[in-house]
């Protein structure tokens, strides 16, 4: 399996070339084009469990993701017996980043997942109160296993290697490595700082590991655009 990311950083698009027998999984709605030799199958976007209960649970989890996290219920599996390519792209203007997973855990903000291949498992992680406060939804998407992961952003993606502590605005968070600890803070310190700095709440990462942030904030765009609309 080979892949190439073109048209970055503003309008990145991913092409994955599949050899016979290989599979790549993409977020529903992300397909731009594919060779006819690739078959597309729609599947529930959760877990690998078998049996009725597992499927039911997967459905509920997927539904929650849909409602809370602006994410899709379903993913598309692209498989091929003869080989061929599929082109995938996210909806918003932004970049695509590839990450080769070797058993570690990555946590992605809602909307950041684009595609994966190989023995990779996607699981919803309860973000707890901190997830609620950080407006990242209640959930992060936990990605672990051995294989390829492609994730996406609104704007460019900057990787920050944290050694100690680092602060990121909640709306700019794309994802982080699972060995980092996340806590929610007020950027200015205390209530006044929260109100006066205009920075709202920030995510503090402590430990050692990598964080990805996006150079634009969707909420900021919506906040700017909304008052401009005709009444």
């Amino acid at each position: 399996m080979q892949h190439v990311i073109t048209h970055g950083p503003s309008f990145a698009m991913l092409r994955v070339d599949l050899s016979p027998g290989e599979t790549v999984v993409g977020e529903a709605g992300s397909m731009v084009a594919r060779h006819q030799s690739l078959a597309m199958a729609v599947k529930l976007n959760a877990g690998k469990g078998r049996g009725f209960f597992a499927i039911f649970k997967a459905f509920v989890v997927a539904l929650l993701r849909r409602i809370i996290g602006r994410e899709t219920l379903f993913v598309n599996h692209f498989t091929t017996e003869r080989g061929g390519s599929v082109w995938l792209a996210p909806t918003l203007a932004g970049q695509i980043v590839h990450r080769r997973l070797n058993g570690e855990l990555l946590l992605l903000s809602t909307g950041a997942y684009l595609a994966h291949a190989g023995d990779v498992e996607l699981k919803l992680k309860w973000g707890g109160l901190r997830g609620l406060l950080a407006k990242e939804g209640f959930f992060f998407l936990g990605v672990t296993g051995h294989g390829d992961l492609w994730f996406t952003s609104y704007g460019g993606i900057e990787a920050v290697d944290v050694n100690g502590s680092y602060l990121i605005d909640n709306g700019n968070l794309v994802g982080y490595e699972g060995n980092l600890k996340l806590s929610i803070k007020s950027a200015g310190g205390g209530l006044l700082g929260l109100a006066a700095s205009g920075e709202g709440l920030v995510c503090e990462f402590t430990g050692q590991g990598r964080v990805w942030l996006q150079t634009r904030n969707l909420e900021a765009l919506v906040g700017w655009l909304s008052p401009m609309l005709p009444r």
Partner: protein, 224 residues
């Protein structure tokens, strides 16, 4: 005539160099700047073709810019952020996604046609434009996002929201992305175009409809 594309890929603009007495026809509203010696003529080509053009996602009017006895210059841009491309007219001509048309030399005939009966359900791509020319000419197209040229060897399936233009040598049919309507809906892919034959296809890396839906769903509802 010579056309160069500047500010690629995110904010492309076409600079058209017109020789004396040359003209170019451009989508209404696409003019960014022009030398003062150009003559501007607005045409709808008759009410019917103007209305058809509206259905095609274009504006009612098109403007033709003509240089006098001396050279002139015209700057053109597409409404959305993205790349532009100059295509040389071929014998077979091109088919265009309705909003991709930016400009063409005056010998290019641009007509609206129904893109297959199935497209009635798609909402998008109900009409496509067919551009043909009896002699050499140029066609300028604009995209939302990056532009990529693919070669179809009888085997490509493309999401309708990502189509820009394709060689008219290709056969195309609109269809579901999966085997059933329910699965197609769930897959989020909506309608796709199946291409057969040999030819080039230009795709855009973003779908304006999908982008509008995503941002639109976050905006406050309009008050009536």
């Amino acid at each position: 005539m010579h056309v160069e594309i500047l500010y690629r890929p995110a904010h492309a603009m076409a600079r058209v160099h017109l020789a004396p007495h040359e003209s170019i026809t451009a989508e209404s509203g696409s003019m960014v700047g022009m030398s003062p010696n150009l003559a501007l003529q607005t045409q709808s080509g008759g009410l019917l073709s103007g209305v058809k053009r509206l259905f095609g996602g274009e504006s009612f009017f098109r403007n033709t810019f003509t240089a006098p006895d001396e050279r002139g210059e015209l700057l053109l841009a597409h409404a959305l952020c993205g790349d532009m491309r100059v295509l040389e007219m071929t014998q077979a001509g091109y088919l265009l996604q309705s909003s991709a048309f930016v400009a063409s030399t005056p010998n290019v005939l641009v007509g609206t046609e129904l893109g297959g009966l199935k497209s009635f359900f798609s909402g998008a791509g109900l009409f496509v434009l067919r551009a043909t020319a009896p002699s050499p000419g140029l066609l300028v197209v604009g995209a939302f996002g990056g532009l990529e040229e693919l070669y179809c060897d009888g085997n490509l399936v493309i999401d309708t929201g990502h189509l820009v233009a394709w060689d008219a040598t290709l056969d195309y049919s609109l269809g579901k992305s999966s085997s059933g309507w329910l699965l197609s809906f769930l897959s989020g892919e909506g309608l796709v175009c199946h291409f057969r034959g040999q030819g080039r296809i230009w795709i855009q890396s973003r779908s304006a409809a999908a982008y509008g839906k995503e941002i639109g769903s976050l905006l406050p509802p309009r008050r009536r």
